[in-house]
């Protein structure tokens, strides 16, 4: 899991002398869940070929990709937007690509060094940013629909209180899965509400949702 949540892991590595390390993750509440009323419904779901990639700082992380592939596939399948999710080509030629890029805070290591020197008494807060991108090619040469959303986990390492307004998670794994779930939920909904998405029916109010959104390319 530390491969998926890089900043606190990196910080922890710089604090080996302390021996009493605690990491408390907080999920940023800005993105949140897609409200039920804004979920796009599909009248006639079509099959889709799914490509998933987890990246670390813009480079593909194959281990994390393999680790999360099944979970992402299940999330796409359970969205109800597609009749079938496949790793091989589907009859209508539709192709969905989902990429999650983990960008840890730049100075996590130096923060960890300072916290380690004080045996955790001077706590540090480090942030992992996640950029989710979805590309949907409907097939038949139709324009590609692109959606992008951002999320983050703030981790308090050592003593200290969490950032104001943040939602505390049970542990790093729970925080990451919540972030992944919310990113996928928003990305899929962004793609599905695009007029170019085959089989989707327009949902009132959906266009005001989230910080990201879909655009044709």
């Amino acid at each position: 899991m530390k491969k998926l949540i890089f900043a606190p892991a990196l910080l922890a590595l710089t604090m080996l002398v302390s021996g009493c390390l605690t990491i408390t993750p907080y999920v940023d509440p800005t993105l949140g869940d897609v409200p039920a009323a804004q979920h796009v419904t599909v009248a006639s779901p079509q099959p889709v070929q799914l490509i998933f990639e987890f990246q670390s700082k813009d480079a593909i992380n194959r281990r994390a990709t393999n680790l999360l592939e099944q979970q992402v596939t299940e999330a796409v399948q359970s969205s109800g937007l597609f009749s079938q999710v496949s790793t091989t080509p589907v009859p209508n030629g539709a192709l969905l690509s989902i990429t999650i890029d983990n960008v840890p805070e730049a100075d996590a290591a130096s923060k960890g060094f300072a916290t380690g020197l004080t045996f955790g008494l001077a706590g540090s807060t480090v942030t992992d940013y996640y950029v989710g991108t979805a590309h949907y090619a409907p097939g038949g040469g139709a324009p590609v629909i692109t959606a992008q959303e951002r999320h983050s986990i703030h981790s308090v390492v050592g003593a200290g209180s969490g950032p104001p307004g943040m939602v505390r998670s049970q542990n790093l794994e729970a925080a990451f899965h919540q972030v992944l779930h919310q990113l996928l939920d928003h990305l899929l909904n962004d793609v599905a509400r695009d007029p170019g998405f085959a089989g989707a029916s327009a949902t009132p109010g959906a266009a005001q949702n989230g910080s990201g959104g879909a655009r044709m390319m």
Partner: protein, 184 residues
């Protein structure tokens, strides 16, 4: 002193071997395969080129770590698996095709020292159609990225970037106008 040396040796051994996970297909290459209307291909031999340093096809050093291809294989075999994954995902792999794509790995390098790391991957690709050579060219791709001082950060970063050169090399092949003309 002997115990200390033994412990250090154990630590080095324990931390020095990483295996590449299986390759995955990429959105851009699938789209390119479809858009360029590449004919279905059969894969031929993928092996090390004559100029590739001995052992380089089976392992590549990243500071104290050595990266190995999956399942005791070779990096030239990994290139074949990468191309295969892309072709399968695009519906363009056909074991009965008259067009056969082969390759020899000519470069496989990475430098992870200093403020910036570099990686380079090259292969000489050959495409035959009914036994006649219709394309024969060496292609090389590179990448560079900021290098962390700490190995715990720098090594996985480098291995991620290095493995990313494989789909990038295939993308370079798909972008080559001579290959497009030959594989059409």
């Amino acid at each position: 002193m002997r115990n200390l040396v033994a412990v250090i040796c154990l630590c080095v051994v324990a931390a020095c071997a990483t295996q590449l996970p299986a390759p995955v297909s990429t959105f851009d290459n699938i789209q390119q395969l479809r858009a360029q209307d590449i004919a279905p291909l059969k894969l031929g031999d993928f092996g090390p080129g004559a100029a590739l340093p001995e052992g380089r096809d089976r392992g590549l050093a990243f500071r104290a770590d050595t990266l190995h291809p999956p399942n005791g294989g070779t990096f030239s075999g990994y290139l074949r698996e990468t191309v295969s994954a892309e072709l399968v995902a695009a519906g363009k792999l056909d074991p009965n095709s008259q067009r056969v794509l082969s390759a020899q790995l000519t470069r496989s390098e990475a430098s992870t020292f200093g403020a910036e790391s570099h990686g380079q991957l090259g292969a000489r690709f050959q495409l035959t159609n009914g036994g006649a050579v219709v394309f024969d060219k060496e292609l090389v791709v590179e990448d560079s990225w900021p290098s962390a001082f700490m190995g715990a950060t720098a090594i996985p970063d480098a291995e991620n970037h290095y493995s990313g050169l494989y789909p990038k090399l295939f993308a370079a092949l798909l972008a080559d106008p001579d290959f497009r003309a030959a594989a059409h």
